[in-house]
């Protein structure tokens, strides 16, 4: 698809990079002139997706996370977050609210938050090969904002 701008990032699955990833996407998205609520939603969704890679995709090792963001016509922010980790056994189950294999430190709300904060979320996973999360959010143009 035709893009107006893009950026690609690659970083190891260290938890210190959660803050870096959401801040980087927020800085990139700034050119779409989002308001604070929209920016908060985007940062939260990115934080959830990247945390999933760190906690679930690479539970016992440090692997690579690839993050791609594009700006598509119509003021749309398109984000792809990809790992080459263990994959998700049952995607439908993983997307259920309050379901988690992550223990008491996790809430099981990651996918639910991505789905309610972004306009579109697609998950593609293959066991042993990795997972790709593809999210989209249209940013309301300033003149249309209430």
């Amino acid at each position: 698809m035709k893009y107006e701008n893009y950026m690609n990032l690659e970083f190891p699955s260290k938890s210190a990079n959660e803050a870096f990833a959401r801040a980087a996407v927020a800085s990139f998205a700034a050119q779409l002139d989002p308001n604070l609520d929209e920016l908060g939603d985007i940062k939260t969704a990115v934080s959830e997706a990247v945390t999933n890679c760190i906690v679930h995709a690479y539970p016992d090792e440090i692997g690579t996370i690839v993050l791609k963001a594009r700006i598509l016509p119509g003021n749309v922010l398109d984000i792809v977050i990809k790992d080459k980790g263990c994959g998700i056994e049952d995607i439908a189950k993983a997307r259920e609210p309050m379901f988690s294999t992550g223990g008491e430190e996790r809430s099981g709300m990651g996918f639910t938050i991505m789905e309610s904060f972004m306009h579109e979320v697609k998950v593609n996973s293959q066991r042993g090969k990795g997972t790709t999360v593809h999210m989209r959010r249209r940013i309301v143009r300033r003149g249309d904002k209430s």
Binding site: S15, A16, E18, A19, R22, L36, D37, G40, D41, K43, T44, S47, E48, T51, I54, V55, P97, E104, E105, R106, S107, M109, G110, T112, I113, S116, F117
Partner: protein
Amino acid sequence: MTSFLQDKQLTIALTGEIDHHSAKKTMQQIGEKIDLYLPNLCILDFKAVNFMDSSGIAIVINTLRRMREIGGQIKLSNVPPQPLKVLKTAGVERITSIEPREVMI
């Protein structure tokens, strides 16, 4: 993280960005304070929190569980809009009282 105790009410002020990276330590610190003071009420003050993802939900649920174990309650105060939205997505307002941060005009 700062905290104070008054009349068996323990207030814990959370700060900065709450995510998976910081959550484990925060959860531990809250647990230690509760075990030390055995309060009737634990107030988590979100005033200085400028970002929170679903890791914060786990912190709240854990704190609630610990407080219930000792017969106490919890309250969330001064919650800014972004953490509030995350908490509401998880339905946390159904299990504890949430006081949003007052809007400064």
